[in-house]
């Protein structure tokens, strides 16, 4: 049966009629056609689906769309400035070659931004532990860890 769900996505209020069994990630990808949020697994391990909900990183594949009723969701498409300028964390990933195929990247960036809010100058170990819920098969994490360290500092400096 179709139900109505209303929430804010990337600053815009939206409403959609969805099946009750619709996941938040399905709403984002298929109803809103924001395909930057990816699905890489079905056991909540890979983190490619990570979005920000009310300012915190969550896995949008592990939530029903209905659980996001009234929430303020940001996806990777909402991270850069309106003029297209990259967010400091995105820029750090680019500068440090923190991505290869790009598939895990949106989830990595969304998680990293949330993490960096409370870690202005994180240690290598803190960053690696913060990536417990994000899998990457390309980079060996080396440059992702470097990028997040640099991105966190840049975010703190830009405050």
């Amino acid at each position: 049966m179709a139900v109505k769900v209303s929430l804010k996505v990337n600053g815009k209020s939206i409403s959609a009629e969805v099946e009750e069994r619709t996941l938040l990630v399905t709403l984002i990808r298929e109803n809103l056609r924001l395909t930057g949020t990816h699905v890489g697994c079905d056991t909540a391990q890979c983190g490619a689906c990570t979005v920000s909900m009310n300012g915190k990183a969550v896995k949008s594949c592990s939530m029903l769309a209905m659980q996001a009723e009234g929430a303020d969701v940001m996806t990777i498409e909402g991270v850069a400035k309106p003029d297209g300028t990259l967010h400091p964390m995105q820029a750090a990933f680019k500068e440090h070659h923190g991505l290869q195929c790009g598939f895990c990247t949106p989830g990595m960036v969304m998680n990293a931004i949330d993490f960096a809010k409370s870690h202005a100058n994180p240690s290598e170990q803190e960053i690696r532990e913060a990536l417990e819920g994000n899998l990457c098969r390309c980079t060996g994490y080396h440059n992702i860890v470097k990028a997040i360290g640099a991105g966190a500092k840049a975010m703190a400096a830009g405050k």
Partner: protein, 267 residues
Amino acid sequence: MHAFKYHRPSSVNDAAALAKGEAKLLAGGQTLVQTMKLRLASPSDIIDLGTIKDLAGIKSDGKTVTIGAMTRHADVAHSADVKKAIPALAALAGMIGDRQVRTMGTLGGSLANNDPAADYPAAVLALNATITTNKGKHEADKFFKGMFETALKPGEIITSIAFPVPKRAAYTKFKNPASRFAMVGVFVADFGTGGKDAVRVAVTGAGPVVFRQAEMEKALAAKFAPESVANIKVKQDGLNTDLHASAEYRAHLVTVMAKRAVEAALK
């Protein structure tokens, strides 16, 4: 995922009234949604507890820390009150899943699900917590009945958990290399009261359900030191064997993790 009917009750009573037959309560959903996605669970109805007021929150009075059932793992991990009163509990909450999962996952959901490899049951059992529901109270020792099985009755909904503050405690977790659930997790709590139940040692991940390790408790009550448990050989009977760890290896790890937990508690 199979189709279901979705409900968003505004009170625990309304939720309880809906919780009948093949209906399932949805707390943080970090286990349930996965299971449904894989079509391993097919509830007729989903009762979302997410919007019921007063189910989340942390209170501490120095003797007891009381945590609402819908309190997220991240909130427990970051709570100044919990860190002050029972730092081991905050640390445990910070070890569950990953940071995204901790943002959604809840204490009540974890306990009601009672996954044999979940972390919270170890804290609840070792700290001798009391589980309050819409129908009454459960002692920790009588709550965890078996694999994915608790003392909760149909329509019974956990509302809060009260953790007595110990003198010292620690949780050490040996993670399953793949799932990152506890392959063996040991929570050691010393209440410093002497006598029975002065020290409680709860083991998760190793058996079909969280359990207390009496021999270690006795030895630690006599002397709270790593060497008291270092040579205790845990029996492997009844422990889990799977791809990642045999019962024998798990039994060994229980001792190692207990020893390290005591070391950590003493720090």
